[in-house]
Symmetry: C2
Subunit: 340 residues, 2 copies
Amino acid sequence: MTGERQLIKKIKDWTAGPVGAGATGAGAGNMIGDDCAVLPGQRLVSSDMLVEDRHFSLAYTDFESLGWKSCAVNLSDIAAMAGRPRYLTLCLSLPSYISEGDLQSFYQGFNQCAREHGAEVVGGDLSGGDKFVIAVTVIGEAHEKGLLKRSGAQVGDIVLATGNFGASALGLKLLQAGQNDQATIKMDRGKLALTAHRRPLPRLCEAFALVRQIGSRGALMDASDGLADALFQISEASAVSMKVNVEQIPIDPDMRALALALDLDPVRLALYGGEDYELVACADSGSIDFLEAHFPFVPIGRVVAQDEPGKPTVELVSFEGADSGNQAFVDLSNCYQHFW
Amino acid sequence: MTGERQLIKKIKDWTAGPVGAGATGAGAGNMIGDDCAVLPGQRLVSSDMLVEDRHFSLAYTDFESLGWKSCAVNLSDIAAMAGRPRYLTLCLSLPSYISEGDLQSFYQGFNQCAREHGAEVVGGDLSGGDKFVIAVTVIGEAHEKGLLKRSGAQVGDIVLATGNFGASALGLKLLQAGQNDQATIKMDRGKLALTAHRRPLPRLCEAFALVRQIGSRGALMDASDGLADALFQISEASAVSMKVNVEQIPIDPDMRALALALDLDPVRLALYGGEDYELVACADSGSIDFLEAHFPFVPIGRVVAQDEPGKPTVELVSFEGADSGNQAFVDLSNCYQHFW
């Protein structure tokens, strides 16, 4: 992870241009900084590449779900800045073992996800290849009420999150353990985890509700690499630290029970599992009553000043441990995966 | 080729949306039809994927040239509609045998090509992978004087082309035959062919000159899959046929001599070799004097009515063979490659 981030910083230098170039975040914009590059005219663009056996396995993914997810994770990059996705391009490298029927299922899943969220496929490319490789670019527009970035958190803000953390990682663990549909479909808990992993929902509606309430005064990103990573990225970009109450992290009771039944720590899955595509936001405390009352953002902590400037920390606190004197911080080396 | 085109037509169906969607060419727009999809606001977008050992070989391509070419072929898609390229995203799948130095050379070549043509890298993604895979998206704007498409040719138009056809295919043949830099650098003819293959120039300047003169009244595309393919694609999209004089096809005298020395037919290389990224246009005959006088478009034929509606043909004529009674037509099954 550290090596990858250092490499991306170098790429930013290698692609740097003359002062005054049009796009903010120019020079590998969406590789570092925010989830999308911001172009003039408040347009947003982001690109992702997904590689077989690195980001997904055809052994336990059906093509329609893979198509859906390939679209959803890109729409989530637009949601992460509270934007509206509009257009998608889709390039595929196709190994010979992918049939036309597989491809049709893939496109149907992709297209369904796009249409359901107001976007359309406008172009792309096909190539042969040894592995199935999926490259998606999404073009969107900033919301008319504003643009939310990772760098907008301020000391005193409340930290908020949507959703159900850890479910996707739990679904992946079930799949990797060979507990496929046949075994788990009967078990509602397992089905929920599988669906969370295979067909994540981009949190566009939640992002729009947030930006309508708070405009550009706040911070936002998606938790694609895990909640811990998102909290840390916002802290770093905003030059703040955070205190997060682990008991307030939204984890579905069924997911908690399933994790415990599998001898897994549900809080670790939530913090470090990744691929949940939930949103993490920071907003002025005056907005909290409205945000809590109207849609599923829950407060999970607060933004504090950095003890040492330039050294963001995310402290984990709990009611139980509040008086124990033991301090715990998120540690990104615990992340299970940094795939998508 | 036919199989690929049929598949792309199916993809267009699979990704079709409700009537009234915003983008023209929606549903896999730039996969079929024009080189770019046209978005509202006269914006253009196109995506390409390049796969190691399918579109290029690291055995005879240096990373800086590969970076340049990966950018150039995408800028050429914008030139093919006379647009102005603005923003690029670049996703890479990186096998372990690619060093940081290789990657730096690649980005430098890519960035140099982008900057020299008024575009900038704004985002992208990195992934591991077994092969080097390059996915590029370019976003541009239509020229203020108009947008030229494949479908704009009319009976009576003159067919025009820029450049030097067959040089890229000749360069590839030299490389495949193991005649690398050391052997060919001393030979200017070989060097020209290698440069044409490794560092093609997107014909943006030529496209702007054309659109300033003719506006939207005409047809344009790039000849990335060979001159024969471009002539056929324009004919099909415009519901016309063409007669092309093979003696007027622009082929550099040195390239002609080099091809003959290698026992290759220079006209076949020009028609079917591909990867030249020259432009092919159709324009009203009234514009020809200006176009010929001011920049390197040369007339190579004329647009005629289809003998049988729905059956475009491209007839090859020559002064020598004009009275022989033997009709020759371009045959796309002769294409050497349909890579980029």
